[in-house]
Symmetry: C2
Subunit: 344 residues, 2 copies
């Protein structure tokens, strides 16, 4: 079943995609259907705004990414940025640029993923723009969220002796991508071969259906911990550590042995003959939280499940370095994903 | 002078483009440089959010649109949506998808236009995303603004007997586009020929450097008029009237003789052998304000410069119609710009 988008036009498509959307948040006053959405935030809250632009062929490859997953992930990466400010996402706007290749049913799929993510994280779709594109798919999502005024966490507050923490594990999404890319090249031209991903489900899930760490933000709040700095890991741990240190005018030491890595990630790195630590430090798309806490909160954090202490903040003169298992120091380099450098 | 964007990378480019940006609005607390921007609005204000996605080849043609103008217009179209809610734009985020064709200097130009628009309208650039694109340029701007809680104007409040008003004049931007398209096809392959646009400057300006009607919103506020419904004219007067009537469950009568049209627009329509009223009703990209007011405000509005009364709201059963100069009634049709229908 394929319905051409031209049969509906812009407004028909928007009506179809946004049908039945209900606004769940107190701060969402008016959603899709006017020149702008109308929100209302109490004055004790700060309003957080983040935006991401995802371009086909750069950020995603539709030969192996199902549209529903793509929609889900497009929303999640924005939620993750709001959590990284110690906030709660409340609304998104969704802009789509569509080439003729896409059908109404394709957009149903994409939107189903976006709507699922919004349901899971209690976020309202309040607006957007739907238009055509001469080539490929462009997805631009803006997320609006809130945080208590005195609890917003920036990247620039890390202090000497602070402990560096990371949630979850790293490198798996990158390994999932390698796996998908390998299968793509292996299967090229062989339509009936189904790739065997058994035992690698976690890697695929991390790449195709990441989650934002709402739970970590809630745990920190429950434990009364306000990180001194925080960001989410989208470009890779090394790159993000360097952002925090640069903006906080600090240095850092992180320990290879403490970097959290899942078993499947390690197995895949072995299979691909890749350096596991490099993958975990630079892989990116983990959407885990990287944050620093005062040393006084050490005990509280060390009791929390799913959070690993990986190092500490130093004076800026000491720079940013990784301490390997055999005690060597390597200066951190941002080898993470930089779309404007890696352009082919 | 051409510097490849790859020599700077994403963060280098962002640093360059956003250098020296100061936050001017009280509500802008933290701008570019973290996971999200931080805003703070007083609780008596509603927060307005609108977003537009502009794709090369669909929304703009770089063979005749200078990048600086494109940047300016990209910002303006968003401001216009905020004014159309009877609000004031305060912040924007700017996301760009760039192909390798674009240099750092190109981006300087584009951003100069965006920054100029922000200066003119007192809006802060607080964030965005800069990434690569396999083909062409994608520009996604989200604008955040504010309005007093009891003064937000929607599309759905038009009542029977309300008067229909429009600011400025219509059809000129569309004529400007026709003019540019004609010159483009005439000049194809003849590099040294300069097109002669003298006497047509207004049309080009309306197409290439539109303004948002901040002044009208201010005048209405000064006169203590709150429109019953309002929207900006981006897709064409017919299309927008139909939106207001549909959402207000009303009909309308507009009078051909009252549609405001500039002299240059009329001359060009003649030259192109096009129906002038059709151009004014369906041309689009006017970024004028279309609004309805209670009949009691008739006198106040009729004294305002730059606002024209073009008709009135009726019962829904009467439908939406244009009354021609010779008294005939024609049902309105949305022949305006619909990118998902017109796709080539």
């Amino acid at each position: 079943m394929r319905t051409e988008i031209a049969t509906l036009g812009e407004f028909g498509l928007i009506d179809r995609l946004t049908k039945g959307i209900k606004l769940e948040n107190e701060s969402s006053k008016y959603g899709v259907g006017d020149d702008a959405a109308v929100l209302s935030y109490p004055s004790e809250k700060q309003v957080l705004v983040t935006t991401d632009l995802l371009m086909e062929g750069v950020h995603f490859d539709l030969t192996y990414v199902p549209l529903k997953h793509l929609g889900y992930k497009s929303a999640i990466v924005n939620f993750s940025d709001i959590y990284a400010m110690n906030g709660t996402p409340r609304q998104i706007t969704v802009s789509l640029g569509l080439s003729k290749r896409f059908s109404v049913e394709d957009m149903d799929e994409l939107y189903a993923g976006i709507r699922l993510a919004c349901q899971q994280y209690n976020v309202d779709i309040v607006g957007g723009d739907t238009t055509s594109s001469l080539t490929g798919l462009a997805i631009s999502i803006t997320c609006i969220g809130e945080a208590d005024k005195d609890k917003v966490v920036y990247r620039n507050g890390a202090k000497e002796t602070d402990l560096i923490c990371v949630s979850g594990d790293l490198g798996a999404a990158y390994m999932g991508l390698q796996l998908l890319e390998r299968e793509k090249s292996v299967l090229k031209g062989e339509k009936d071969v189904q790739p065997d991903f058994s035992g690698k489900e976690y890697l695929l899930e991390r790449q195709l259906k990441p989650e934002a760490r709402k739970d970590i933000i809630e745990k920190l709040a429950a434990a009364n911990i306000i990180p001194t700095s925080m960001m989410d890991i989208s470009d890779g741990l090394s790159s993000e550590l360097m952002h925090i240190c640069k903006q906080s005018n600090a240095g850092c030491r992180v320990y290879e042995e403490h970097i959290p890595i899942d078993y499947q990630t390690a197995v895949m790195a072995e299979e691909f003959n890749m350096n596991l630590t490099t993958c975990a430090m630079n892989g990116g798309e983990d959407y885990e939280l990287l944050f620093t806490i005062p040393i006084a909160d050490h005990e509280k954090v060390s009791q929390m499940e799913g959070i690993r202490l990986i190092g500490h903040i130093t004076k800026p003169e000491l720079g940013c370095a990784l301490i390997t298992r055999d005690g060597q120091e390597f200066e951190l380099k941002a080898q993470g994903w930089n779309p404007l450098k890696e352009e082919k």
